[in-house]
């Protein structure tokens, strides 16, 4: 008599090294007696035995009624962006990739937080994610600054707070220089949105952004507006620094449902000269 059919789900949200994860997992799973499938539809046609279904979306096992002990969520630390999207000059595909990956990570963390395995933890100590299947992460690959910063930003789902580095935001200026986690840019130009992004999907709740900005003397005399929230609804705050130096801006917004976040800094007047330094933002849950 053959074994009854048993389904196990491995959720790997989009990440730069997803192919490496799959390549690492497949032989381990096979030698542990699993048949690996890359979709639920494929698995449904399979003969009895232990099926390991790989998916990006936690909704699939939930809809299939999978028990939490029969699934695991893998969180890579390589960041969500494939190299061609990360380095493209057109930002829209990158924004879409961040929105999509963060939404799927949020879904996995929200539904099965106790079944989340991080790449870092797996590299330090292999874990038996399912009976007989012991997993260690693929070798650490060098991630881009943006991917590394996005990976750090995604820790907001597990810890209710994280640091969003300047690398994950877009800067609308002619002369932009990134170094040591901060970005310095020339303000010269017409009134416009200076900083925007990162479109990470936020869980429901009230979230505070603490943003640090440095203003040189010529830039301190201008009026600015900071927006924090979703792309359609947000909290706004207008200010004029009035003196040069480093400033901290605190702004809160309440998400009533998960949706993409956006922080914007707008220049409200034309500017001839001066530089702004953006140090990134601390994001934390208030309620």
């Amino acid at each position: 008599m053959s074994d009854p059919k048993q389904e196990f789900w491995l959720i790997i949200p989009p990440c730069a090294d997803r192919d490496d994860w799959v390549a690492t997992i497949k032989p381990l799973a096979k030698s542990a007696g699993f048949t690996v499938f890359s979709s639920a539809a494929e698995a449904s046609k399979a003969s009895p035995g232990k099926a390991l279904i790989l998916t990006r979306d936690a909704n699939e096992p939930r809809q299939a009624g999978a028990a939490s002990e029969n699934l695991a969520v893998i969180l890579s630390d390589a960041g969500p962006l494939l190299p061609e999207i990360d380095t493209a000059s057109e930002p829209a595909p990158r924004h879409a990739a961040v929105r999509n990956a963060s939404e799927l990570i949020l879904r996995g963390c929200a539904a099965y937080l106790e079944r989340v395995f991080t790449a870092d933890a797996l590299r330090r100590a292999p874990a038996e994610i399912f009976p007989g299947l012991k997993l260690s992460g693929p070798a650490l690959v060098a991630a881009s600054d943006r991917n590394r910063a996005l990976s750090e930003a995604f820790s907001v789902y597990a810890a209710d707070q994280s640091f969003w580095g300047s690398e994950i935001f877009d800067i609308n200026a002619k002369d932009v220089r990134h170094h040591d986690g901060q970005v310095v840019f020339d303000l010269t130009g017409r009134p416009r949105i200076l900083i925007f992004g990162p479109y990470i999907v936020m869980p429901r709740g009230r979230w505070r952004a603490v943003v640090r900005l440095g203003f040189s003397a010529p830039t301190a005399k201008h009026r600015y507006r900071a927006d924090w929230g979703t792309q359609e609804l947000y909290t706004s705050y207008e200010f004029r620094p009035a003196r040069d130096g480093m400033f901290q801006l605190e702004i809160e917004y309440e998400w009533d449902k998960p949706s993409a976040s956006e922080f914007r800094l707008l220049l409200l007047e034309g500017a001839f000269d001066g530089e702004i330094t953006f140090f990134g933002a601390e994001i934390s849950k208030i309620a």
Partner: protein, 222 residues
């Protein structure tokens, strides 16, 4: 294949007046093509006229170099180059010789454009500033230059004469280069393709004329 040399090259130019504590501007760098149209924008006292005069050879730069590879007019709007004791006719004769042009032909063109009539026989020191500007403009058009330096076109005559100047410069000489200092943002936006804004001793080139006009408008309002 060699690329065409720019008509004008300004390299690291700065200007400090004697006795002055601060420089008017420093590190000015730009090039102008042989049909380039550059606006000079800046609030009063920022150094637009100084730069135009330096380009016209009337003032020397304190540091840096100005290299011309095309002929250039004197600054239109500036009439300081006339010999006041000579009549308008004598000044036309003098400049015709200087630029190796036929006197009668030049006079006919100046007379036709400047509309000064019999006043041309009077010494230039008796001319009003408007008449001087008309004579200077008429002469610069009669002699024909590759590049025109324009320091505030509104200084030249009434509205009808200004229209005539604009037609002569911007339509009949559409493929010539020019460099125009002006507060008139409509004129600048209509005829220039790039701009330099001078503010607090700094000069910046804007390749987007619309952006330059917008930034300058904010500077003026501040």
């Amino acid at each position: 294949m060699s690329l065409e040399q720019p008509g004008l090259r300004v390299i690291q130019v700065s200007k400090t007046y004697r006795e002055a504590k601060r420089c008017v501007f420093s590190n000015v760098n730009f090039e102008l093509g042989r049909s380039g149209r550059l606006a000079l924008l800046g609030r009063n006292g920022q150094g637009k006229s100084t730069l135009i005069r330096m380009l016209g050879g009337i003032l020397p730069p304190t540091t840096g170099r100005i290299e011309w590879n095309m002929t250039t007019s004197w600054p239109i709007g500036f009439a300081g180059g006339f010999q006041g004791s000579l009549s308008g006719l004598d000044n036309v004769r003098f400049l015709s010789r200087l630029y190796k042009r036929d006197y009668h032909e030049t006079l006919e063109r100046v007379d036709d454009f400047a509309e000064l009539g019999k006043s041309l026989s009077e010494p230039v020191r008796h001319f009003s500033s408007g008449m001087r500007a008309r004579l200077a403009f008429g002469l610069s058009l009669a002699i024909e230059f590759d590049c025109y330096l324009i320091d505030e076109l509104v200084a030249v005559g009434d509205a009808r004469f200004q229209r005539k100047c604009q037609e002569a410069l911007f339509q009949h000489r559409a493929h010539r280069a020019f460099l125009m200092a002006s507060h008139d943002t409509n004129l600048v936006a209509k005829y220039c393709d790039r701009a330099m804004i001078i503010e607090s001793g700094k000069a910046k080139i804007f390749d987007d004329i619309g952006e330059a006009v917008e930034v300058y408008t904010w500077l003026r309002a501040a």
